[in-house]
């Protein structure tokens, strides 16, 4: 099992979510985060003049999948989250040793 951590643009959550469902990956956990990377910060307005904000709103998706699904999942996310501009975000793959479904106690790959 692997956990795929994908940090994407908030407006891309919708298409990614749908595309994952289409390839049968339903389980996912989403959180609102802020990120900094190669993308420049954003310039916002004050009453007069402006100021720069470094950390931009992003969405973090955590998707735990069985080993065989990793590349499919990564692919799907990449395709749907991509604009080609800086700031599209990144995908990290992290090992998971075990998974347990709370409701019925399934564990290992069964729990995914």
């Amino acid at each position: 099992m692997k956990k795929i951590d994908a940090v994407i643009r908030p407006e891309k959550l919708e298409p990614v979510r749908e595309a994952l469902a289409e390839i049968g990956i339903m389980g996912m956990t989403v959180s609102a985060v802020s990120g900094r990377g190669r993308q420049m910060g954003i310039t916002l307005q004050w009453r007069a003049g402006e100021y720069k904000v470094d950390l931009l709103p992003k969405v973090k998706l955590e998707v735990v999948v069985i080993d065989e699904d990793v590349s499919r999942a990564v692919h799907t996310i990449r395709n749907k989250a991509r604009t080609g501009e800086r700031g599209d975000g990144k995908i990290f793959v992290i090992p998971v040793e075990d998974a347990i479904r709370i409701s019925n106690g399934d564990n290992g790959d069964d729990a995914i």
Binding site: E11, E14, T43, L44, Q45, V53, T83
Partner: protein, 408 residues
Amino acid sequence: MINAGDTVWILISTALVMLMTPGLALFYGGMVRQKNILSTLMMSFAMLGVIGVLWAVYGYSLSFGGDLGNFIGDLKFLGLMGVGEEPSGLYATSVPHLAFMAFQGMFAIITVALWTGGVVERMKFSAFLLFAVLWFTLVYCPVAHWVWGNGGWLADLGALDFAGGTVVHINAGMTALALAFLLKPRKGFREGMPMEPGNIPLVMLGAGILWFGWFGFNAGSSLAADGLAANAFVATNLSAAAGAATWMILGWIYRRPSALGVATGAIAGLVGITPAAGFVHPMAAIPIGIGASVIGYYCILWRTKKGIDESLDVWAVHGMGGVWGALATGIFATATVGGVDGLLWGGGMQFLKQIVGVVSVGAFAFAATWVLGKLVDRVVGLRVESHEEEVGLDISQHGERAYGGVLP
């Protein structure tokens, strides 16, 4: 001669109606997704600025100046010329002319703000401003003249509109509908993407402020602190109450009594009673409020099913609620309150006149909006770019975000 009591009443009513625009801004702003709340607020606030100035410069004159062909006012009050501390002689003869002018101005502002509910989350701000100025000049001012101006053709005909059922609500509702067609649905709307209201407590606050301000809107339209004002006041409150309770029950029948529903029902009730408040017995406000809620509820269901993204239901609640209110005025009006009898008391002619008012204002608003909207689309484009819509209009149109700071 100026009467101090009447003057206070108009001044405070003017202030109340002014407050309705920020109230409406919150009512609408809380209903859109968080990324668009400021852009939604801005549409209303910008009108307080822009229309606020234009009304004094020429709008009042076009609406209430001398008559040109029963269609529009002339320029005799341009730049408030001749609008002073003395009463006007024609309108509201016991209060300063300036006070009457200001009172009417607040109606113009909120009418424009009202139809913004149909265009939120996707209309370009520059296009909005341009369209709003054109619409105010070429739609609002004429229609106000028709109905309330000395010499206006609907006034001459005797179509009744106590506080703006046609001028404000039908007008705004049909405009919103036409704009919604021109703008097309928001991205994802047809695909069923949830457009979750971002801040319902603000919606409730907005509804509370609107209800409060509406006392100035309707009871202030009596233009004097008299029994008629009290009648309009009570009718207004009863219709709002009946509307709120009705919508709550409708929601319950289908699923749950919702806060958004109660707020919407109250507004529907307030819309329904607007043209009628000074013509009907207060108890007639109960069926009027119930009717407005029922009509609004099913119109929303219908437009959703049809895939029409008239986003915040200006058409359903204000447009159709206004139609109902105008017709209900023709049904429930009683000579003992406002001097005219409706259908119920044998006034069939009055009912026909109301129909004329409804149809002419509704059709004019829709058609004129269509033409002006197409024009503005050609000149600056009505809609933001696709990625601007995705990011949200707060950032893309206004360079701001509502709730700043990464961290609490």
